[in-house]
């Protein structure tokens, strides 16, 4: 297909756009790239204070890793989450942000959301690297699990690409999308086991039982959330040092394929009219 060939031809453009954003990001700051680590660090301190010290949430120790440290446990879920939320946000704004390019030059428009997600992915990779060093320093036997973690990271990036493809088009037609999504992200964070362990939801769900006289439990509804499966999978690999549940892996795969399929389809359908719609 010519479209695929065109996309392959735009590989260098993609890497150039990513490099532009990566290089331009922390220009004229004193601390440069270190700023990328400040956000997760501050979030870790605040969440640890609130949820571990005040609310006394105690996640189960890593099994079989034996780790038992709330900040590390938190980061294993928080870093994938912040990547997700930041990448969706910049992916959905990517077409608008490159208004000047879209209306003046022809190139496969797909590279715009793709480069936005990859730029975030680049930052995320550094955060994950620091986390990996910390995990190993605290006694996790992470080495054999690094390939699995990398595969999960790629999978999450693909999922984000799919979501961004659909949302960046929506954002061109309805500028509300960006504001709506920032609200959704706030709610979504608390509907995902990032700052508290999934076991707490399980306990409550068992206590309440079937909802409205059906067999559907709170946990079933909760499990619709694709990010729950991603976070659980990341925690299993990074914190527990074991292979993620097959249910989580299957859910991640299905959601990624669905998001990519729908996103790509929407994007292809609107791509040609983008220069006018802007």
């Amino acid at each position: 297909m010519t479209y695929i060939r065109e996309l392959l031809g735009a590989r260098e453009l993609l890497s150039n756009l990513v490099m532009r954003d990566v290089r331009g990001q922390y220009k004229r700051t004193i601390f440069g790239r270190l700023w990328a680590l400040v956000n997760p660090l501050v979030a870790m301190l605040v969440y640890t204070f609130v949820f571990s010290f005040v609310f006394r949430i105690q996640p189960a120790p890593g099994n079989p890793s034996g780790l038992n440290a709330f900040p590390l446990w938190l980061l294993c879920g928080l870093l994938p989450w912040t990547f997700f939320s930041a990448a969706v946000n910049s992916g959905l704004g990517s077409i608008l942000a490159n208004y000047g390019l879209v209306t003046k030059v022809y190139f496969p428009r797909l590279v715009l959301p793709l480069s936005a997600v990859l730029t975030r992915g680049y930052n995320w990779a550094w955060e994950m690297l620091v986390l990996a060093v910390a995990l190993i320093a605290f006694g996790s036997f992470l080495w054999p699990w690094i390939p699995v973690a990398l595969a999960l990271m790629v999978l999450l990036m693909l999922f984000v690409v799919g979501v961004s493809l659909a949302l960046c088009i929506a954002n061109v037609h309805f500028r509300d999308t960006q504001y709506l999504i920032s609200v959704v992200m706030q709610i979504w964070l608390y509907l995902t086991p990032v700052v508290y362990p999934l076991s707490l939801v399980k306990d409550q769900s068992d206590r309440v039982g079937g909802l409205f006289g059906t067999n559907i439990t709170v946990l079933d509804m909760y499990s619709v959330n694709p990010m729950m499966h991603f976070i659980e999978a990341f925690r299993a690999v990074l914190y527990d040092n074991r292979f993620p549940n097959s249910a989580d892996i299957t859910a991640c795969l299905i959601w990624t394929i669905a998001a990519l399929g729908v996103g790509f389809w929407i994007f292809r359908a609107s791509e040609k009219g983008l220069a006018e719609a802007l």
Binding site: N16, L17, R23, V105, Y106, F174, R175, D176
Partner: protein, 245 residues
């Protein structure tokens, strides 16, 4: 003679919005996305651009020249008809597209070149030529935000002119830089022509068109008025708005 571009029955429609609900709230409250009427910026335009020619598009403001040019450059997609290209096409509708102000001239050359469809290797090969042509050697490692506007445009133009496509589509960007730089550009276009490349350009300056183009198409209110050898079409066009001269 073979054709570089074939334009067949091309029509491009824009919607003129009397009411456009670009937020969800208004779209839902009014129960519709928009009230609009269709406006055909181009209709039934058919012509050929012979390979190796310099082809000019002329017409008054708002006649649809730039729309046509954008269709040729694949930025807009025609609603009707089709445009066929034979060879690699590059469009120069704006210079310095995608320049990042904080990055150096050097980094921006690679970025801009990639946006215009050049590979890294090509850019490396032509790097010296590009820098030389732009005349900003001294400042090539400075961030482009410190460039004067003339330097900025010259650098952008130098990248674009070195893309080396089979077909170059140009929108009135010839008028950049000082007289000396313009002369350089003229010569570059001359080289382009001798190399057998095709150039399509839009210009309001009949003088430019007359001196550079061998074929011209005259667009009037979205319709093709006349296409053919430059002298004939330009004469007819000049006559249309100044009959008594």
């Amino acid at each position: 003679m073979s054709n570089a571009i074939e334009v067949r029955d091309v029509g491009k429609m824009f919607r003129l919005y009397h009411e456009r609900n670009q937020s969800l709230k208004s779209a839902m409250m009014r129960r519709r996305v928009s009230v609009h009427e269709d406006f055909w910026a181009l209709r039934n335009v058919t012509f050929d651009v012979p390979a190796g020619s310099t082809f000019g598009l002329i017409g008054s403001n708002g006649s649809g020249k730039s729309t046509l040019l954008k269709c040729l450059a694949k930025i807009l997609t025609p609603n009707e008809g089709e445009i066929r290209h034979f060879g690699k096409i590059a469009a120069l509708l704006e210079v310095g597209s995608g320049f990042h102000p904080e990055l150096s001239g050097r980094e921006n050359i690679f970025l801009n070149g990639a946006i215009l469809g050049m590979s890294r290797k090509e850019i490396q090969q032509k790097f010296d030529e590009i820098v030389d042509f732009s005349g900003v050697e001294q400042f090539i490692d400075q961030p482009v935000k410190n460039y004067s506007s003339g330097m900025y445009v010259r650098l952008g133009f130098s990248v674009a002119i070195n893309v080396d496509p089979d077909i170059l589509v140009v929108d009135e960007v010839l008028a950049v830089g000082d007289a000396e730089f313009q002369l350089k550009c003229q010569r570059k276009f001359q080289d382009f022509r001798t190399a057998g490349k095709t150039v399509v350009l839009v210009s309001h300056s009949l003088g430019t068109v007359q001196s550079m183009c061998d074929h011209v198409a005259w667009i009037n209110k979205g319709h093709l008025e006349q296409a053919g050898p430059a002298a004939e079409v330009i004469a007819a066009y000049s006559k249309s708005f100044a009959p008594e001269v």
